[in-house]
Amino acid sequence: MSYTTNEIMTVAAARRLPDGAVCFVGIGLPSTAANLARLTHAPDVTLIYESGPIGARPDVLPLSIGDGELAETADTVVPTPEIFRYWLQGGRVDVGFLGTAQIDRFANLNTTVIGPYDKPKVRLPGAGGAPEIASNAREVLIIVKQTARSFVAKLDFVTSAGHLDGGDARARLKLPGKGPVAVITDLCIMEPDPVSRELTVVSLHEGITREQVTAATGWPVRFADSLGTTPAPTDHELQVLRALQQRTALAHGTAGGGGGD
């Protein structure tokens, strides 16, 4: 089956979520990917949304982080402070699944402002739960469309810590989790270099060239020596994803998984 770049991005991201993991899910692309994982190889994943649902199994994708569908299908719904205190800070989250507006070469994230903080060119929505997801989750997956405007040499504002200025910077700051382990885009998959922690392209999606990735990255992006090709989505993955999006469109009159929190 043929597929879009959005579809392979979602499928590739979903595949990174291990079965049995406790996953703190951001709204939008992360929610689509996490639910695709749950409906394919990871039926035993526990999806947590910051509004309170634990173990959500939505049949259609939520429009917002606090949809009734999440509450109705969850194992339990707790107050928001418990999600952040007992679950995220409590060290019970295996995978934090985040989107972002801007990202730099060390996978630090900006969702606060474009331009100076006090006189911003664009005021973005803000931190939400991302800073503490980025620091406390055992590992972090980032899913974001790749453009030179979003993959920047220098962030206007560091909202959430990735690997900071690289190397063992996280360990020196005593951040509990190991930080971003993969960035999945519509063009490729990047992983931090084991030593420098600089994001390195490890896999290109089928039909995507190095030049396209370089053009869509605001720094001189590195490619792994053993650069692979992202395995194409299987028919099953595509069928499940499309069915999910179709159910969502029918329910909401929209594809769901849009922007916002």
Partner: protein, 286 residues
Amino acid sequence: MTEFVTLREAVAGLIHDGDCVAMEGFTHLIPSAAGHEVIRQGRKDLYLVRMTPDLIYDQLIGSGCVSRLRFSWGGNPGVGSLHRLRDAVERGWPGPLALEEHGHADMANAYVAGAANLPFSVLRGYQGSDLPRYNTNIRFIRCPFTDEELAVSPAIRPDVTVIHAQKADRRGNVLLWGILGVQKEAAMAAKRVIVTVEEIVDSLDAPPNACILPRVVVNAVCLQPGGAFPSYAHGYYARDNRYYIAWDEIARDRETFKAWMQKHVHNTADFNEFRRVLAETAGAAA
């Protein structure tokens, strides 16, 4: 002890210019009717607090009611930006808006600390983030037992918290269920509490350990069916997503926004009339 009053009376009696006000709701049970009433009554210089300011805060900001905002994520959930919030921050219209920006974890903790009458909250957070550079209210302390460094933040103690809930009983106890967000903590943290409800019943018939605000913490209960529109009230009605999408267009332009507010809020007597006018507009557009 709870008084049963109209929303107009509750806002007139309990919310004053300059107050610190939290109208909480985490995409569920947003107190939209109460927000409109604050705009109608022309409150000024409010210090608003909310984890997720959305449409109703956009309307309050655009209407010039707000001078200061403590928050952690401001957007149109599932749609995009809040254009009135952006206009205030990016261009100071209709007036300057001071931001006190935190993360969700911090805000949730700060409500809990406020409810517990503590002056500050403690969390593992902000390591590596630029937020503490721009918000001097985010500080760091050391654990007196382990010497670990932890972030601290001032507790949230609103003058008034406003929430929407599904039910109140005739004694003034309030029941909410589904996605709870931080509403209970925001209410317990406040000096005064206003609750709008879908219905008032003889008995809550609540299951064991349900989320109930006992009447002694509730100052005013206002019957306002549909009061969370366009958000949803679990068990009563679903989110009206068309309104969220439409708001993106309305709020983009100052004049469009002002005209809409005039027609739908200032020229209507209450939320019920607002709903009628809105339905007519939608009917005419169809």
